[in-house]
């Protein structure tokens, strides 16, 4: 069990969070994305209040919290998928490798080529398995010829742990696969464009336990090369797969720290109440 030596002030709504008190599990980790003072509004209703968080490189960070707490909203901020939502305003500063991702000169299309997304319900295109995975590289011009494209597709399918099951039926429609396979196909599709960060919005919530376990194993493998941020309703899953966990409640970031510490000895009473099932 980690004995945290850094003392944190008791968090309440009025105390402003101080940067220097932020816990860092070890000094050698590199910060991939940051959020500072992020507020998000849907019309007049505010969904996120002053969120500050650091996403570390090559690690899995989990966002947990009860329904409507803003974790999915925050996830969508990271790759500007809130832009197409009418009436959604994002304030604050979000960076990727230090660059502001809401810079008006930055094309969101390019941003989304570096930050991939996997959704709650598997949503393969109604095209063949090959075309599903090849779509991203095609539109971004990542392959110079058909052979290279084929290589990218096979490599992505293999990384997603799907190649063995589909290698002899790549021309079948993507929708003919089972739920777990479809989700892995979506993951393959996302990693085919070689992103740096992968965002996952409750990727296993519509899958059975075996498919879920496969995806969790995949996350372990992928986290060596990618930064992963996952929103999950299952606390057990967050405890299993992530290195750091952020607990959101009513639009505020209540606690953020190492997963081991959060699940054995959380600092905030609200975190404790949520993860032990005393409210939620």
């Amino acid at each position: 069990m980690n004995v945290m030596t850094a003392e944190r002030p008791v968090t309440d709504d009025k105390t402003p969070r101080r940067m220097v008190d932020r816990e860092v599990a070890d000094d050698s980790c590199h910060i991939k994305m940051t959020a500072r003072d992020v507020n998000v509004f849907y019309g007049d209703a505010q969904a996120l209040f002053n969120v500050d968080i650091d996403i570390a490189d090559n690690e899995v960070t989990a966002l947990i919290g009860p329904s409507g707490c803003g974790k999915s909203t925050f996830l969508r901020c990271l790759n500007r998928m809130n832009d197409p939502i009418r009436g959604c305003r994002v304030q604050g500063r979000l960076t990727l490798d230090g660059d502001d991702i809401y810079d008006p000169d930055l094309d969101p299309v390019l941003l989304r080529a570096r930050i991939g997304m996997v959704f709650q319900k598997p949503n393969p295109f109604p095209k063949s398995i090959f075309d599903n995975v090849a779509y991203g590289p095609r539109i971004h011009g990542l392959a110079s010829d058909k052979a290279e494209l084929g290589e990218i597709v096979t490599m992505s399918l293999e990384k997603a742990g799907l190649l063995n099951e589909v290698k002899d039926r790549l021309d079948q429609p993507g929708t003919s696969l089972s739920g777990g396979q479809q989700q892995r196909l979506c993951i393959a599709r996302a990693i085919a464009i070689r992103p740096e960060v992968i965002l996952m919005d409750e990727p296993c919530s519509s899958l059975d336990p075996v498919a879920t376990a496969r995806i969790e194993r995949l996350m372990d493998e992928l986290s060596e090369d990618y930064t992963i941020v996952i929103v999950t309703h299952s606390m057990q899953q967050a405890a299993r797969v992530s290195k750091r966990t952020a607990f959101f409640h009513l639009g505020k970031l209540v606690e953020f720290g190492g997963t081991d510490q959060i699940f054995t000895n959380p600092k905030d009473q609200r975190t404790q109440d949520y993860i032990t099932g005393r409210f939620g």
């Binding site: 998928m81 197409p84 941003l111 997304m117 949503n123 295109f125 109604p126 971004h140 929708t175």
Partner: protein, 448 residues
Amino acid sequence: MSASAHNAGSAASLKRSLASRHARERRFRRLGMLAVISAIVFVAVLFSSILIKGAPAFEQATLSLHVTFDPAVIRIKPRPQRIAGQSPADFARRKRSWQRSLALVDWNRVIETALRKTVGDADISSRDLVRLIASAERFRLRDMVAKDPAIIGATLPVNLLASADVDVWLKGNIDHSLPDNRQQLSVAQRRIVEDLSKRGILHMAFAKALFLNVDSRSSPASAGLAGAFVGSLYMMLVVIALAVPIGVASAVYLEEFAPKNRVTDFVEVNINNLAAVPSIVFGLLGAAVFIGWFHLPLSAPLVGGLILSLMTLPVVIIATRVTLRAIPASIRHAALGLGASPTQMVFHHVLPLAVPGILTATIIGVAQALGETAPLLLIGMNAFVAHIPQTPLEQSTALPVQIFLWQGNENRNFFESRTSAAIIVLIVLMIGLNGLAVFMRQKFERRW
């Protein structure tokens, strides 16, 4: 009350209400059946009345004669050939004079000769005799010779259309017991008609003329729908070429790209209202704008097509928007998440899935436009047009307008059934188009 007693109480009241609920459901189902049956009955009555009236018109009285192309009557020189060293103008002039000589031939003589052969020495004037044949048939003989002058001198079996009066007499569309001064055929004509039909020379044949001939007033038996077909076809082509691209593009823009504000709401309301505007208003608009301002030719299929496009546009836009809305947002999100631009998302993913819906909307819109009559009347298509239009800019008529014109023809006992036959043709076309729409929807439906 204990739990089981409570349950027993509610079970009893459940049973009571169950009976009335079932009764209500039965009543509702019966009402529904009644509605469906009465609708079917009405449609059946309508269709069968049309069918009964129109079916006889698909057969027409025809005479099978042996026609001698007597060179004594057909006194023409051989067809001019192009001579080397001759100018094109000269050759054209010679051809025209040859054609004129062909036109000046007394074809009625040829017909009369052929008829006399069959009726022997019946006491009938030449005029009455020739009147047994539809007057436009002599042009058919002329066209046969023009195509192949070598038949001059030969005797060939030819099927000639009987005149409208003969057809009416044979089909019993005129009361045989009427006095002679109210009959359409003279006594002698009637005698010969009975005689020839007993001998089988005068018989019923399939009415090719209905489909292959243009409209005719001088020779009612020869009146056909060919001109109307082509006119309608040109108009449908114009509608498809205009309404579909503009409609689909507008719908895509409004649904996918346009910001949601008062302006777009206003546009949407207006598009919906356009679909409800009476068609005759579009006719007035077309007459004023296309013919008045742009000076497009009167009663041209182009103008009719333009007007019908305007009418079909709201249908296509609304149907396309509905189709686009039905495509799940998850596919759009997936495409955007991969870094596709909004345009790429629409054209690579959304539109391909919308194709069956758009196709269906187009076909249904075209089928609707096919049956529109009122606006076409206002741009002059109610004129009598007796040729097949070669280009969309020539005068023409359309199928529904042709029906309207025939319905107004004073020769009621002949045109009554012919009009119904034309209606049947129109209905068959529309059912065919709608069937095509259903077929294409089934074929291209993609599961997502």
